[in-house]
């Protein structure tokens, strides 16, 4: 048994990589998977905050690669899920503190003991991103339905495609506001998929619960949480239909219900 190494990346910052990594890790753990999340954003660590384990950090990823501790010592166990661990990033160093080869080595050491290794990539296209994808078996590209996020995602996909290894990529469209899409103020999922030519593994609605969740270090309930759980199930090979983001909201769904009703009578 060997773990699947999945890197979560986006190019642009602030699209929800860390939120996605934390929620997918928790969702997979809740499905009885053994999961370790690695924060590759050295110097700007956040994953520990979102997962609510900041105060228990003793050693970090840089301590591991510089052999100041054993790998196990840097792994922080999640309170709620016994099979979920975090390897935090160092806060006082920068991306050059770790090399792609060292990342591959860390991942190789973790693989036999887990089902999933999730790597939270930093924004950008430089060393930190290279570290994060170095050991990846799969990549999840997180983007928002806005032009600049999609443009940066396209850049990242191009860089990964140009690499020596063929790494399968799938798309997560995050922060979708159905109302705005309907009014044409936001790109639609189709627009995003059309530009990136990647198959989406999940569409996550914009949800105020995310803000509350990441401030408390709690994992999500609500519609965004449900979307992440669906993505986790899809990663495990389940066929889960995409959520109807229009449900209970506004004009279109009323029309749909109207037609549904008249068809039945």
């Amino acid at each position: 048994m060997t773990a699947r190494v999945i890197t979560v990346t986006s190019g642009k910052g602030g699209v929800g990589k860390t939120t996605t990594t934390a929620n997918l890790a928790a969702a997979l753990a809740s499905l009885e998977q053994r999961v370790v999340a690695i924060d590759a954003d050295i110097g700007l660590r956040n994953l520990d905050l979102v997962m609510g384990v900041e105060n228990r950090i003793v050693y970090d990823l840089v301590d591991v690669v510089e052999k100041r501790c054993k790998l196990r010592q840097a792994m922080i166990k999640h309170k709620r899920y016994p099979e979920l661990y975090l390897i935090p990033a160092a806060q006082t160093r920068d991306k050059t503190a770790v090399s792609p080869a060292q990342m591959i080595e860390v991942v190789r050491e973790l693989k036999p003991d887990f089902d999933f290794i999730l790597i939270d990539s930093p924004a950008g296209i430089e060393r930190g991103f290279r570290n994060a994808v170095a050991g990846a078996d799969e990549v999840l590209i997180v983007t928002n339905p806005e032009v600049s996020a999609v443009r940066d995602a396209d850049r990242i996909v191009g860089l990964i495609e140009a690499g020596e290894r063929k790494i399968p990529m799938r798309l997560i469209v995050n922060r979708v506001k159905p109302d705005m899409v309907r009014k044409g103020e936001m790109l639609s999922i189709d627009d995003v998929v059309d530009i990136l030519s990647l198959s989406p593994i999940g569409v996550v609605p914009d949800d105020e619960a995310i803000l509350i969740g990441s401030n408390r270090g709690e994992l999500l309930n609500g519609r965004a949480g449900e979307a992440y759980r669906n993505i986790a199930r899809r990663l495990l090979g389940e066929q889960v239909p995409f959520m109807n983001l229009e449900a209970n909201s506004g004009f279109l769904s009323r029309i749909a219900r109207l037609f549904g009703g008249s068809g039945g009578s």
């Binding site: 296209i125 443009r151 396209d154 850049r155 996909v157 191009g158 860089l159 495609e161 530009i195």
Partner: protein, 227 residues
């Protein structure tokens, strides 16, 4: 209709205009008639390269010079006079005009039928060019896939995109104004052909359709390509 109406025919050929004057009639009269015909459609003929076919009519040097001047005044360039008359040929030589529509070197070569086209060189990209990727080639560039916003192609020759063209393309980058850019959907960030630059009209409601862009009269124009 006078006899002279049939004495002159004006035809478009690959090299420009071909004016054919039948050997009957007085030269002064036909040449006046010819100028009158050209003046009727002056706008249409303006700037054309003109070849003259006078069959076996002898045209003297001063007669040809006079016609040459009149054509030049109308912004028409007389470059060849075709005739079986030695007088006419010698007049043409004096004015340094060609006496055949076929270039010299092609006449000299033995005509050999070769069905093999030599073609041109270039490269084929068999995938979508994403943001940040760039292709530079001195020949033609063909992409099977899209050219996304932020991607760039610089080609010495033509650029063909079998997909959506959304990025930046420079065709004929070393100054070839005859280069073309084709795409199944032509909505580039910016197009350049040789030294000309253009951007796409801002029309979000358009339907994708194949187009070919080329330089016409000093600007880049895109035309719908209908199969």
């Amino acid at each position: 209709m006078s006899v002279l109406d049939n004495a002159i025919t004006i035809k478009g050929i690959k090299e420009g205009l071909l004016l054919t004057i039948r050997p009957e009639g007085d030269w002064a009269e036909v040449s006046t008639q010819l100028i009158a015909r050209l003046d009727q459609q002056a706008e249409f003929f303006k700037g054309a390269r003109v070849a003259l076919d006078v069959a076996d009519r002898p045209v003297r040097q001063h007669e040809l010079e006079s016609l040459f001047a009149q054509l030049t005044k109308r912004n028409l360039t007389l470059w060849a006079v075709v005739s079986q008359s030695d007088t006419t040929n010698s007049a043409a030589h004096h004015l340094k005009l060609e006496t055949s529509l076929v270039p010299q070197h092609e006449q000299m070569e033995a005509v050999e039928i070769d069905s093999q086209e030599s073609g041109t060189s270039g490269i084929l990209i068999d995938h979508t060019l994403r943001n940040g990727r760039t292709i530079r080639n001195a020949g033609n560039v063909t992409v099977i896939g899209d050219v996304n916003p932020g991607a760039e192609i610089v080609a010495g020759g033509n650029v063909i995109v079998w997909g959506k063209l959304r990025g930046r393309v420079h065709a004929g980058a070393d100054g070839n104004e005859a280069a073309v850019i084709c795409a199944l959907d032509l909505m580039p960030t910016q197009l350049r052909i040789a030294g000309y630059i253009s951007i796409s009209p801002d029309d979000k409601r358009r339907k994708p359709h194949p187009e070919m862009a080329s330089v016409r009269q000093g600007r880049i124009v895109a035309e719908v390509w209908n199969a």
